[in-house]
């Protein structure tokens, strides 16, 4: 029976207080970490195989090792922008176990010798931000933060910085720009944030869930962490946010690599016993998978081999009343709305894709539309300034590749063949 790690405290409201968190075992890992060499912590995290939980899946320990030694100042920026459609796991962690995140950030700051940490949280998460602010206050009062973390002499300041409504601020350099008070427009890389990050200084950027794993790795060891999961490249517990046409949408913690079938069962199966048509394994940017992938292991490498990505592990399930064109059109609208507008392929390409998909959905499709969408995808992918362009391509490309007959039906019949809408009146 898999023992919950990241979500072990979410039914214990006492952990919202410093005392309650400590009673539940909290801050013991930080205490232990402060007595270790920073490099030892980086090695341990590297050894654990922890890969970024924000979407990119990059080795966290390896990222930390890029931070140059000796340079001052250095920053940790916790990416709590969580705006990928289908994702809501970080919100759970912040609202129900804020100190776990604070502890993870503190250990990370010690490991890379950063004295300031900003938790960049999306502006819409007002409740989570307030909870975090209170937890930070308590942490300062309790000697966890400030001039001498737990009496160690290590100085650490941690602040909440609220965003203002832009998905692109989840991109690491877009987030840095926004933190610095500018438009959240991603930067040209190189230089990478490890060299030139926030305010020109070396900066580590990690997702909330990634950081929440850190206390557990320190406390229980890399070997324990590695034992959970599929293989040595896909390790540790993972939060899966499942939504759409399932009976019990929600955040579920499983060892990474659980199969989609098992995950679907754990979430109560298909909504009202419907038939699975398609599912997105990792947020709006992930190419869409079909029922043939039911037994796919939901880890980074297996999903990538299947032609998609685990990303933020935001699983969106669609039954057979769903119009795939309409669904992808909505995602195209999202990417067009969220494009920052800097670079030509994304600014113009996402706009064009939304227009074409809208036409298709409204029965004004042309025979050339499918091929044209693929061509546009090809011109965007790899050519945009940041990954949003590639993200926008994901669902559209998979729509044309896997659901061409449905597109052709839209064109042929001059209307959407799935007019049924989920209305409360008819059993939504």
């Amino acid at each position: 029976m898999f023992e919950k790690v990241l979500t072990r405290n979410i039914h214990n409201p006492a952990v919202l207080t410093l005392d309650g968190y400590k009673k539940a075992g909290g801050y013991a890992a930080l205490d232990k970490a402060l007595k270790l060499e920073p490099d030892a912590i980086i090695e341990e995290v590297k050894k654990s195989g922890l890969r970024g939980r924000g979407g990119a899946g990059f080795s966290a320990g390896l990222k930390w090792s890029f931070i140059p030694k000796g340079k001052k100042p250095k920053y940790l920026a916790c990416n709590a922008d969580e705006s990928e459609p289908g994702t809501f796991k970080d919100r759970l962690l912040m609202e129900f176990d804020p100190h776990q995140l604070i502890e993870g950030c503190a250990i990370t700051c010690w490991a890379v010798q950063a004295n300031t940490c900003y938790i960049y949280i999306r502006g819409e998460y007002t409740k989570a931000a307030a909870i975090l602010e209170q937890a930070l206050k308590d942490a300062y009062n309790g000697g966890i933060l400030g001039k001498s973390v737990m009496g160690s002499g290590f100085e650490l300041d941690m602040y909440v910085h609220r965003g203002a409504g832009a998905y692109i601020c989840g991109e690491e350099t877009g987030m840095l720009e926004s933190l610095e008070g500018k438009r959240g427009q991603p930067r040209v890389k190189p230089p990478f944030p490890a060299v030139v990050g926030a305010f020109g200084a070396p900066t580590v950027i990690n997702n909330v869930e990634t950081l929440c794993n850190v206390p557990h790795i320190i406390e229980r060891g890399a070997d324990w962490f590695k034992a959970i999961g599929t293989d040595e490249r896909n390790t540790g517990p993972k939060l899966y946010a499942i939504s759409g046409h399932v009976e019990r949408p929600g955040t579920y913690e499983h060892p990474i690599g659980i199969t989609f079938r098992e995950m679907l069962d754990a979430a109560g199966g298909m909504y009202k016993g419907g038939t699975l048509k398609a599912f997105i394994p990792g947020g709006a940017s992930a190419p869409i998978l079909t029922p043939e992938h039911l037994d796919i292991k939901m880890d980074f490498d297996t999903v990538a081999k299947a032609g998609s990505m685990l990303g933020s592990a935001a699983v969106i399930v669609m039954d057979d009343t769903t119009c795939m064109v309409r669904s992808v059109a909505r995602l195209a609208k999202f990417f067009n709305h969220e494009s920052c507008g800097q670079c030509t392929p994304c600014r113009e390409g996402t706009n064009w894709m939304e227009l074409i998909l809208k036409r298709l959905e409204h029965g004004e499709g042309e025979e050339s539309d499918g091929a044209k969408l693929l061509s546009i995808c090809q011109h965007i992918a790899g050519n945009s300034l940041c990954a949003l362009g590639d993200a926008a391509v994901g669902p559209v490309k998979s729509l044309v590749e896997r659901f061409m007959p449905e597109i052709e039906q839209h064109v042929r019949e001059r209307k959407c063949p799935y007019p049924h809408r989920r209305y409360f009146g008819n059993g939504a």
């Binding site: 040209v188 067009n336 507008g341 800097q342 030509t344 061509s375 090809q378 300034l385």
Partner: protein, 556 residues
């Protein structure tokens, strides 16, 4: 210095050179819009994507050449692979899908980045047939300030203009607003684009989104003849290109000179040619009947110069005065000095009006000027006047010095606002004989006994010495009209009547003679004046140089 190979051509470059600049060194033009050598790199337009092999391994994605800086010998670059061509086609398609087909009514046609790259790197048909183009209603012809008009539909969101106002002008009036496909450039209400470099954003805009108020619809650029010249607006001496159609100047544009004005020029300088069309032109020799002494003048230059020569010969040398201006070329001032010597008068002055501070940025601290004329220094160095010119001119303009003169020669009928001021004209008219050389038939020329037509600065050859004590030369952009003759030639004819040995009749010949006589110009020859000009070897130049270095040090 690191080496990089681009399309099989290897070149050594300074560390940190971007691939766009490195490619230019070997004759490879990598297309780009958002990149500009003087602005921060943003890598936005994605037009400059190239294939790079790093130590033999091809990078998985195309890279934006503008943001790739050469630091070592590791790179081999190709701009001609199928992937690069496909990307260029793709980018061009993206640029054009929402771009209005305005070419027939757009100023930029003929010098448009979209036209040029479309032709070179794009495709000849559109696939955007079933959707509506994005537009910015209400933003098709919106003045951003008094000099620049925006058509937001045409903008390609390269943000060169925004970065210019932030980084070069330092005034930051332009901003990038909204997000994504709705992104636009603009100004905050009530804070328009008003800085002295504002029209430069029109120069750097690759398309017709930003147009110059004074050039809008003025001419098709493919009908313009373009000749290099020097601006006469102030003592900075920005290098410019005179763009004209058959002698009617349509606009000035800055010409690159890293030592002086870099890529820029100010709005005032751009306006200096407008008066050549607006003000009446003096194109014929004119002598007042009562000046001839025999009731009428029937003749041309020869007769007029004979008359002038007679006047000068018979006058008391000490009572002949010559008032030049800061608009005289060095050669003209030199010859005027020779004339003054031949007549035997020390009464010489140069009228130079003060202006506001004009500051042109460059990478070496910038150049500033406050004198509203280009060449007071040339007149000084050429020996026409001493160093206290301004004060001497005041004696004529606001004092009574003219009344004491038997012959007053004013060698510029448009030496400043004062030349059009009736009170000043009246004062100058009190000379017994008033001779005026000029291009403008100003009230001063009309009051003259003898008015002799000479070229505008764009119709003659010459040199100016700017605030940096830099000598810069220029040649006529087009010939002058009517009876106009170059002042150097006219003065040579006049001097020949005093000294039959005088043989220098062109600006070049005059300059070479000046260089032989005058230590400030030693070693220079007209044919070999460098294109960026040359700092003269004079003590004032040394002082100016160290002042500039000090101001750069302060800024750092």
């Amino acid at each position: 210095m690191p080496k990089v190979t681009i399309n099989d051509r290897t070149v050594e470059v300074e560390t940190g050179t971007t691939l766009v600049d490195a490619a230019l060194k070997v004759g490879v033009q990598i297309p780009h819009y958002c990149y500009h050598p003087r602005l921060s790199v943003v890598g936005q337009c994605r037009m400059c994507l190239v294939d790079i092999w790093d130590r033999g391994r091809k990078m998985p994605k195309l890279q934006a050449a503008c943001s790739m800086k050469v630091e070592n010998d590791n790179w081999v670059v190709r701009t001609d692979t199928p992937e690069v061509h496909e990307a260029q086609k793709g980018m061009m398609e993206f640029f054009l899908i929402n771009h209005p087909l305005d070419c027939p009514i757009c100023d930029q046609a003929g010098e448009c980045g979209l036209q040029d790259y479309s032709f070179k790197h794009g495709v000849a048909f559109s696939r955007f047939r079933f959707e509506d183009k994005r537009t910015y209603p209400g933003r098709e012809r919106i003045p951003l300030g008094s000099n620049v008009i925006l058509n937001m539909n045409r903008c390609i969101q390269c943000t060169r203009c925004v970065r210019f106002t932030q980084e070069i002008a330092g005034t930051a009036e332009l901003g990038f607003f909204n997000r994504g496909a709705r992104a636009e450039i603009g100004v905050f209400p009530g804070k328009p684009l008003e800085n002295h470099l504002s029209t430069c954003v029109v120069d750097i805009c690759p398309v017709g989104a930003l147009t110059s108020t004074r050039f809008r619809f003025a001419e098709r650029v493919f009908y313009l003849d373009k000749k290099p010249s020097i601006c006469t607006g102030c003592e900075v001496g920005c290098n410019i290109t005179v763009e004209h159609r058959r002698g009617k100047i349509k606009r000035y544009k800055p010409r690159f000179n890293p030592e002086v004005n870099d890529y820029w020029m100010c709005d005032h300088g751009r306006s200096t040619h407008e008066r050549y069309q607006k003000l009446p032109r003096l194109a014929a020799v004119r002598v007042r009947p009562d000046a001839t002494g025999n009731g009428g003048f029937h003749g041309g230059w020869k007769e007029a110069l004979d008359l002038l020569h007679r006047e000068l010969r018979t006058a008391d040398g000490g009572k002949v005065a010559i008032l030049g201006s800061g608009f005289l070329t060095t050669e003209e001032a030199y010859l005027l000095g020779k004339l003054a010597d031949a007549v035997g008068t020390s009464q010489r002055a140069v009228a130079v009006e003060p202006g506001p501070l004009w500051r042109i940025p460059n990478t070496k601290g910038g150049v500033s000027g406050t004198e509203a004329a280009p060449n007071r220094r040339g007149a000084e160095l050429a020996g026409f006047i001493g160093t206290s010119a301004g004060a001497d001119a005041e004696a004529y303009l606001t004092g009574d010095a003219a009344a004491a003169a038997d012959v007053l020669i004013v060698a510029d009928s448009d030496f400043g606002a004062a030349a059009h001021d009736p009170q000043v004209v009246a004062r100058l008219r009190r000379a017994k004989r008033l001779i005026v050389f000029g291009w403008c038939d100003s009230p001063l020329a009309q009051a003259a006994d003898i008015a002799l037509p000479v070229p505008t600065p764009t119709e003659k050859d010459g040199t100016f010495v700017n605030v940096q004590w830099r000598l810069q030369h220029f040649v006529a952009a087009f010939p002058p009209p009517g009876q106009v003759r170059p002042l150097v030639e006219v003065l040579a004819d006049l001097l020949a009547r005093f000294d039959t040995g005088w043989s220098q009749r062109t600006a070049g010949q005059a300059f070479d003679r000046l260089a032989g006589e005058n230590p400030a110009f030693a070693g220079l020859s007209w044919d070999e004046i460098p294109a960026v000009g040359v700092t003269l070897n004079v003590p004032q130049a040394q002082a100016a140089g160290s002042a500039a270095a000090a101001s750069v040090a302060q800024e750092i």
